[in-house]
Structure formats: structure tokens, C-alpha cells
């Protein structure tokens, strides 16, 4: 099927030649290097901006988690935010002073990731035989159930207040005369590096996954489940693995989120809107493509934190909107802009901005889809 790649004139130039070859092939390393040096050069990253960029990294991790399900395996997942939330809450329960555990960030994060992976398996196991769109609805329903449960179990989750304060990583740990907990609390650059390191780890893991036996099996199941089974791949095992990996990585993102905010925030932070925004990022950037997913998140987060505030303040300066009408402000159009973007991308470039080669071939095949 995938040999049938339709020729596209707009395909990116072959990266194996030309002066940019090194940059194109090693974009991860180059980006990582730039991002690692940035806080040392740009002082603003030690302030509020640092927190925003950290957030961006966390969303990148979450989007990569979703990409395992939707991109590689072709399982539409509309409840990724619930795993994000479970990770955040498990971490919080294991570390906040309210509970007797207080086992520290690292151990709590490991447990949280295991718990989310287990939850993913528990959701995945009974729902494996569902066809694509039914699975989408089950994950959506699961997300709602988790949100409502988090909100209503006030004795355990603190209800709408959430759980706080989540202590910073390394609280009480002294390394070479530096109190790590204090450093994390004072300087956002510590979180910046923690999130960057985690993201780099996840990207590396995803790269390895893509080229592994399991990764190829995921793609095979996406392209044609029956054919994959005929080739001796156990679709059950492969899909369960996708569920577990995706949930675990989303849980990791949740841990970082709760720790960096020092609270779980209220359960509405883990609702359908978040799931769908992450899905938008993955689709916009390119399903099954790591650089695409990262770019998609950067565009969406950039829209919310850079473009929209900038355009709003520009409109305010132009003084065209003295009454504060929502349709004369830029951010008032947020939903419509995302909506139109989704529709246009699906119509004209379903493989996303930076397509994964394998998926682009499938999407342009037309006719019988998955």
C-alpha cells in the first residue's frame, strides 16, 4: 500500500544533499542545543517567559503521547487529557503535605507513570475490538468520567480547588551545598531544564520506537489490521502497547505540569477542550510525525501566548474597539480560527504541515481508508 506514494510537487526537498543536510538530518540535536543554551543567553527565560516555554515543552510531551495512539496506530483518542490529569493527581497525592506519603518527586513520578500506564491498559483492554469512531467516543466518555470523578471526590482530590501545594522536585535534597528544592522554587530555569530534558528523552524514545519492531507493527496495524494479523502481528498486543505507552507519556507530562504549577489546578484543566487542542496540534503538525507534532504544539501554544495577546493589544492601540466587543478582538475569534484551520487542513493537506512520509502516502491514496 505504502509503495503507492503519489508524486507531490510540494514535497520537501531531499534532505540528504545540499548545504543544509546536516541541519536537516540532525534537527533534533540542533534544536536541543539552541534550547539548552538559550536560558544562559536570554535573561528573560529566568522570568515569566521561562515558565511559558516550560509549559510548551510539557504540551509537546503530551502531544507526542497522543501521537503514539492517533499518529502511529491510527486509534482516535479524544481523552488524552484525562491521563494527563491522572498523572498530575497521582503525583500530587504522593507528594503534597496533606497526605502522609510525601515520597519526593522522582519516586512519585515513576509511580504516577506506572499508574497511568495501568489505567491506559485498563481502558484499552476491553475496548480493543471497537471500530475507530466508537473508540473515539469511548475515550471521550472516559475523559468526562475522569473529570467528573476528580471534581466530585472532594475528600481525595480537593474538588475544584485541586491539590496543592505540590512541592518542587528535589525538595529537601541538597546537592553540593545547593538546596535543590529552593532552587526549583526560585528560578524557573530549573524547571525549564527538567522539562527540556524530559522532552528530549521522549523524542529520543519516540525515534527509537519508530524504527523498532513494535513501531513498525503499530503502523502496520494502522494501515490494515487484517493484513497485519495475517503477517503474524498480534493486533491486540500492539494496540495495548500503544495504549500503555501513550498513557504513560501523558502521565509523565501531567507530573511535570503539576510540579511546575505547584498545584494540580482544578479538574477542568483536564477536560475535553484540552484533549481536543492537543489533537488539533498533532493533526495540524502532521499525524505520526515527530517534528510535525512539535511544530503543531508550537503553533497552537504560540497562538495563545504570543500571537493572540499581541494582536489584541495592537487592536486596542488602534482604538477600533472602544466598547470591548468580542468580535472586534482577535482572541474572540480563537475557536473559529482553529475550526477553520482543522477543516482546511483536512481538506487540502490531511497529512499536516510536516508530514510523516508513511502516512502521507496512505492519505493521498484515496478510496478505502482505514
Amino acid at each position: 500500500m505504502s509503495n503507492n506514494r503519489s508524486p507531490r510537487t510540494s514535497a520537501p526537498p531531499d534532505p540528504s544533499t545540499g548545504p543544509w543536510a546536516f541541519l536537516a538530518q540532525r534537527w533534533e540535536l540542533v534544536t536541543l542545543g539552541v534550547l539548552a543554551i538559550a536560558p544562559l543567553v536570554i535573561p528573560a527565560l529566568g522570568g515569566a517567559l521561562g515558565g511559558q516555554v516550560t509549559n510548551l515543552f510539557i504540551y509537546c510531551i503530551l502531544a507526542l503521547a497522543l501521537n503514539v495512539m492517533v499518529g502511529y496506530t491510527g486509534l482516535v483518542h479524544l481523552g488524552i487529557a484525562s491521563f494527563f490529569g491522572i498523572g498530575a493527581y497521582v503525583l500530587a497525592i504522593l507528594t503534597v503535605p496533606m497526605y502522609p506519603f510525601q515520597i519526593g518527586f522522582l519516586a512519585a513520578a515513576v509511580i504516577a507513570v506506572l499508574v497511568t500506564a495501568g489505567t491506559g491498559l485498563a481502558l484499552g483492554a476491553p475496548t480493543l475490538r471497537l471500530r475507530g469512531d466508537y473508540l473515539a467516543i469511548v475515550t471521550l466518555g472516559f475523559g468526562e468520567v475522569v473529570k467528573v470523578t476528580l471534581r466530585n471526590l472532594e475528600q481525595i482530590t480537593g474538588g475544584m480547588k485541586g491539590l496543592n501545594p505540590v512541592p518542587p522536585p528535589g525538595a529537601g535534597v541538597t546537592l553540593g551545598g545547593i538546596d535543590l528544592g529552593k532552587e526549583f522554587a526560585i528560578d524557573p530555569r530549573w524547571f525549564y531544564y527538567l522539562a527540556l530534558l524530559s522532552l528530549a528523552g521522549v523524542v529520543l524514545a519516540m525515534r527509537r520506537l519508530e524504527n523498532s519492531r513494535l513501531g513498525r507493527a503499530l503502523v502496520a496495524v494502522r494501515e490494515d489490521e487484517l493484513a497485519a494479523q495475517a503477517m503474524g502481528i498480534s493486533a491486540t498486543k500492539v494496540k495495548l502497547a500503544a495504549f500503555a505507552m501513550s498513557s504513560a507519556v501523558a502521565g509523565l507530562a501531567g507530573c511535570l505540569y503539576a510540579a511546575s504549577l505547584s498545584t494540580t489546578a482544578d479538574p477542568n484543566a483536564y477536560d475535553f477542550n484540552r484533549s481536543i487542542m492537543v489533537l488539533c496540534a498533532v493533526i495540524l503538525g502532521g499525524l505520526g510525525s515527530i517534528p510535525g507534532t512539535l511544530l503543531g504544539v508550537a503553533i497552537l501554544v504560540g497562538f495563545d501566548t504570543v500571537l493572540a495577546p499581541w494582536a489584541d493589544s495592537w487592536i486596542q492601540q488602534m482604538n477600533v474597539n472602544p466598547k470591548g466587543l468580542s468580535y472586534l478582538s482577535f482572541s474572540g475569534w480563537r475557536l473559529a480560527i482553529f475550526g477553520v484551520a482543522l477543516v482546511l487542513v483536512m481538506r487540502y493537506r490531511p497529512e499536516g504541515l510536516i508530514p510523516s512520509r508513511r502516512l502521507a502516502a496512505e492519505l493521498h491514496e484515496g478510496g478505502a481508508g482505514s
Binding site: V145, L226, L335, G339, L342, V343, P350, G369
Partner: protein, 305 residues
């Protein structure tokens, strides 16, 4: 918790269920015919409710006498039905039709996009806060019974939903268009081969689903009395659950599913607590999909090779 109380809750549940069923029909018909979960359907109904609210204000219906009010409500149902129906057809024509042969993910994601666009329109129309929909009908009890309430509003739901359902089943079972719709939902290619204009049938389906949704939006405003730009998601989800419960693609199934979901919601609110209702309904949805994915009245679909 007397028997009377239980009876009252069942009555509330069935009335709500009739409303849910009307919305569920829109999901189930579109799914039955092109296999698309129309995520934008709930938001389409939200827009219908916006139009109804604007019309009530513009026509000064709050000051009308009882007879005029009933005529006015009939007019609202018709106008909002046409509005939602035509809007649904337009969306199908512009957004979904070019994606007919694309992989299933494409129309699904586009529907989410359309839902966003509708929500943004609703946000401009209504503003960010919920708006109250005026009470056009007196809330006097029609039953001579203190413990059991059945008001004009409840009667309204029955009076609108009942005839619409009858009309729909006559349309689907008795007319040429209905036959064509059933043919297309079974096999579009074969239907086209025997001379059915598939695109026209699909457009008609979108129109009918949208019309029923428009009628539902008027009832929703008059019955629930609060509308907001985010109402589409939650209500759409309940209705979709009803459609799946009944067996998606099956018209009697959607009605049955709507009534069951209405009952479950009412009883869960009364006996477990309002705030758990959503979780209970969706937990039921998951359980049904896992153990009986074809729903109560649906046919089991063989996996196509």
C-alpha cells in the same frame, strides 16, 4: 422516596428523553447514511436556540396571549427547523462532501472544526454568559394531583416530538425518498447503480436531521429555559450516547435510546446526585460499547475486508 416521587422522576425523565431522542435522530441518521459522527450537531442545535431566542425577543412573544403564543411556538419550530436544516445541508456541501472518499478520520476531525466555528458564532451571538430563555408557557399543573406534576411545558414537548416522530417514520417507511435513504445507508454504490441520486439523498438526510435538531432547539429553550454557547457539547454528547445505546443508524433505536438516557439521567439526579449524572451516563455508554457495540436495536456490522 415514595412511589409518587419515583413516578414523578420517571415522568421528568421521559419528557427529557423525548427531547434527547429528537437530537439523537440527527446523529443516527447522518451516521447511518455516511458513517460520520457529526460532532457539530450539538452546536448546530445551540445556534438554533440562539435564533429562537432572538426571534422571541424580536417578535415580542413574551407579551402575546395564549393562542398567539402557541401559534408563535409553531412558527418558531418551523423557522428554526428550516434554519438548522439548511445550515446542516450547507455544511455537508462545503465541508463533508469533498471528503466522501477520504479516510474516516478526515470528516470526523472536520466535524470537530465545524463545531468550533459554530461555537464561536454562538459566542458572538449570545455572549460568554448563559442567557435565560423567557418562560412563554404557564407552569400550571395539568394533573389534578399535588404530588405529580405535568405542566404545559411537558405537554409542549410531547405535542411537538410526537408528530415529528410519526412524520419521520412515515417519511422513512412510506415514501420514495425514505426508500432511497434506506438503500444508501445499506450500500451507497449499489444504490447509485440502481439510479438513486446519492448526493441528493445525503443532503436530504442532513436536512431532516438538522430540521429535527432545530425543533429540538426551540423545545430546549422553552423547556430548560437557559441557553449558552457551550450547551451544544454536553447535550450533543447525551444525544449521541442515546443514539449509540439504541444502535447507531437505527431510527427506532435512537428514540428508545433517548428515552432510556432521559430516564437514567432523571433517576441518577434524584437518587445519586446531580453532579454524578454525567459520569453515570458516560459510564453506561462505555459499558454498552464494550459489551454490545451494536446497541439495543442495531444490527451487527461485519468488518469489511
Amino acid at each position: 422516596m415514595s412511589f409518587q416521587f419515583l413516578l414523578q422522576q420517571c415522568l421528568i425523565g421521559l419528557t427529557n428523553g423525548a427531547l434527547i431522542a429528537l437530537v439523537a435522530l440527527g446523529y443516527t441518521m447522518v451516521y447511518g447514511i455516511i458513517g460520520l459522527i457529526n460532532f457539530a450537531h450539538g452546536d448546530l442545535i445551540m445556534l438554533g436556540a440562539c435564533l429562537a431566542l432572538s426571534l422571541v425577543g424580536a417578535l415580542g412573544m413574551t407579551a402575546a396571549g395564549p393562542a398567539t403564543t402557541w401559534v408563535g411556538i409553531g412558527g418558531l419550530v418551523l423557522i428554526c427547523g428550516l434554519f438548522c436544516g439548511l445550515l446542516n445541508v450547507a455544511v455537508d456541501r462545503i465541508v463533508y462532501k469533498p471528503l466522501r472518499n477520504a479516510p474516516k478520520l478526515a470528516p470526523l476531525v472536520s466535524a470537530i472544526g465545524v463545531s468550533f466555528i459554530f461555537m464561536n458564532v454562538g459566542l458572538f451571538w449570545l455572549g460568554p454568559a448563559d442567557k435565560s430563555f423567557p418562560e412563554l408557557l404557564p407552569s400550571t399543573n395539568l394533573l389534578h394531583n399535588d404530588a405529580l406534576q405535568f405542566t404545559w411545558k411537558d405537554l409542549l414537548v410531547v405535542l411537538i416530538v410526537g408528530p415529528l416522530m410519526v412524520a419521520l417514520s412515515v417519511l422513512v417507511k412510506g415514501t420514495k425518498l425514505g426508500k432511497a435513504m434506506r438503500a444508501v445507508s445499506q450500500d451507497p454504490t449499489a444504490a447509485a447503480l440502481v439510479g438513486v441520486d446519492v448526493d441528493r439523498v445525503i443532503a436530504a438526510t442532513f436536512f431532516i436531521g438538522g430540521f429535527l435538531g432545530g425543533a429540538a432547539s426551540v423545545i430546549y429553550g422553552l423547556y430548560i429555559n437557559t441557553i449558552g454557547f457551550q450547551m451544544g457539547f454536553q447535550n450533543g454528547l447525551y444525544a449521541f450516547t442515546a443514539a449509540v445505546l439504541g444502535g447507531i443508524g437505527s431510527i427506532p433505536g435512537a428514540v428508545l435510546g433517548g428515552l432510556v438516557i432521559g430516564l437514567v439521567r432523571a433517576l441518577a439526579s434524584a437518587y445519586v446526585g446531580e453532579r454524578w449524572t454525567g459520569a453515570i451516563v458516560f459510564a453506561i455508554l462505555i459499558v454498552i460499547l464494550v459489551f454490545r457495540p451494536e446497541g439495543l436495536l442495531g444490527r451487527r456490522v461485519k468488518e469489511k475486508v
